[in-house]
Symmetry: none
């Protein structure tokens, strides 16, 4: 499943890209402040610096902006995360670096993450899958890293445990943004990252031990 194409009346692809970047930027700012529903298309146009008519040259419906925004956020998260991961011969070290990189992205994109969390549900039944796919991709990045750790006997997760663990990693990062009202009251990003790394890492390391 690729990115969904939103048609534009304007033909110049370069221009479309530039204008849409403006739109997204403006929209994110508005969404942060008042959410998707309370943001009017006029506000977005205005903040983007052009008229309402022009806005509609680059989208078809209000919801298109939301899709554009969600898509852009994921794109950026993935891009930043990917470049943060790098590679290391030691599987666990790589996993750790990936997590730290991902958490750092979550920290720097807090607002965007919150927007995503709260507005995804407003996407149409048609657009939603495209976005969920990207979320799932994120999960899979960690699944693969975990799989490598398991393959190299650095973690002893069962096959079925990997997905759950990967989920936890992904979520832990997002929650830094989404539950900032409580978490950021108690920790700074470094402390939080370190803490979560250990909680999650040791969980994964010892999960196969017998328990009561």
């Amino acid at each position: 499943m690729k990115r969904k194409k939103i048609p534009s009346l304007v033909k110049d692809q370069k221009l479309v890209e530039r204008r849409r970047k403006q739109i997204i930027e403006a929209a994110v700012e508005c969404y942060k402040e008042k959410g998707f529903h309370k943001t009017t298309t006029r506000e977005i146009a205005e903040k983007a610096g052009f008229s309402i008519g022009t806005l509609y040259e680059y989208i078809r419906k209000k919801e298109d902006v939301l899709y554009l925004v969600c898509d852009a956020i994921y794109e950026e998260v993935q891009r930043k995360a990917a470049e943060a991961i790098g590679f290391h011969t030691d599987a666990v070290v790589q996993l750790k670096r990936a997590l730290f990189g991902y958490f750092s992205v979550m920290d720097s994109m807090q607002d965007e993450v919150v927007v995503m969390y709260q507005e995804v549900k407003s996407l149409s039944k048609e657009s939603l899958p495209y976005v969920l796919k990207k979320e799932r991709d994120m999960e899979e990045v960690f699944e693969e890293l975990l799989t490598r750790c398991v393959a190299e006997k650095r973690l002893s997760l069962l096959q079925k445990e990997i997905r759950c663990a990967a989920n936890n990693l992904v979520i832990a990062g997002q929650m830094w943004a989404f539950r900032r009202w409580t978490l950021q009251e108690a920790y700074d990003i470094n402390t939080y990252t370190e803490l979560q790394w250990r909680l999650l890492y040791f969980g994964m390391k010892h999960v196969s031990e017998v328990t009561e």
Copy 2:
């Protein structure tokens, strides 16, 4: 911080309570289906079985319904969770029971949890704190259980680690509902609960070990 009082034009407290129960029930159903913003007050009134005029005898603004709903959901979660926890002499057993009970509630109230997750942000700046307080209460329930485990040397969490761990427990439960599109594709509630228990438990047990 107590529950926030929503004024009603109707004097008879009994009646107010009965009607509001109807309102909440109707609203939750609507929110599940289309979210807060796309649900009209008319729909709520209709589904509740009375006229739009009557609805406004029991609330002042559309948002009041959302508050009522959020409040009611938390109330129910807490009530059910509380009765599920019970007591056990062994601190870890009690923690485990609490977690299992909580997860079971999350499973049975999936829709409600999703509604909460997606609509809280629509609460006014004024109402939000009341609701976040309840969320925080949930966290504290687990913080206390963890504190007891630590006190009885069953877990060796540092003071500052407790809050983060408690957060993870709370979140893990909510995610069963909120990320059902991915998690429930892979697990059933029992498997998920068991898995998370072990991942989280061992994480908390071994978190203080030295790590690379």
Copy 3:
């Protein structure tokens, strides 16, 4: 095919009827002046004497007003025509009276007829048939009268000629309104009626004669 029911949010049937009468009256006036497309719903509401919100309590879409108008016009034409026809033992006399009555109605409802002629095409594919049916009904009234004339040997139309002749009668009346820019420059309604009666009547009387 009965009249199509346009749903209303207002329950009081009596009120619905009264308000819709106002709407129709206002709309006809607007349509006369500027046509359906250039008439705004606000203008209709205003001319009808209530707010735009109220208008939409009695219709769903702008086009509903058009349907209401078309339906009302036909209803009135039929009602007036019916009461004008009466009965006479002599079939031809009855036909003549019917025609004269019909023409008189066309004369008194000129504006409405013109509106109909020009706006019917704006009805949705869904509504159109209901209106065309009424037009066809009009035709059939004359077909029956002609059939009686034929049965009583007062006219010698072949079966297949009846429909065409009936059409001509119907049209001749409508044209008094629709082509008033030319016809009413040359005739008054009485002259026109008398003239058409004779042209059409003798046509029908002698149509079966051999022609070159």
Copy 4:
């Protein structure tokens, strides 16, 4: 009253003519499908094969296209009708031929006729007369033919009856297109033409007889 001149920004007359032909062709197609009001200038430009900017080099306002279309249709009707009429020494034969020719044109230009009937009213008060004049010209063609028939004693119409009769001839043809939903259900063009010829001809032949 001549044709009304629509100014163009482009100097080259040849080009103007060519482009306008394209515009008209495109517009007619659009009007057939959705009427004047629902057709956008963009659609016309696109279907004509050039840009919206270019369209506005050849017209000033949307309505200009409508005028161009109406004018073109009449032009074509007249041209085709004229070439169909021919000449015959016998006045009635010529009348008949003219009618048959005219009906045949109406048949082949059904869509255009319908467009005209429904959109003329959308012409500005300023343009309308030019178009009505052409309609009147059509009438006059038949008035003249009828006058000749009368002069040669082949028909005994009174002076004032000629215009009405001519009107009926013109209308009968147009109705084949405009009321095709009912007429073409019952007849084919040949039957219809023959039938109308006889109904109208005998009407005109015997109109001066005394009637009840």
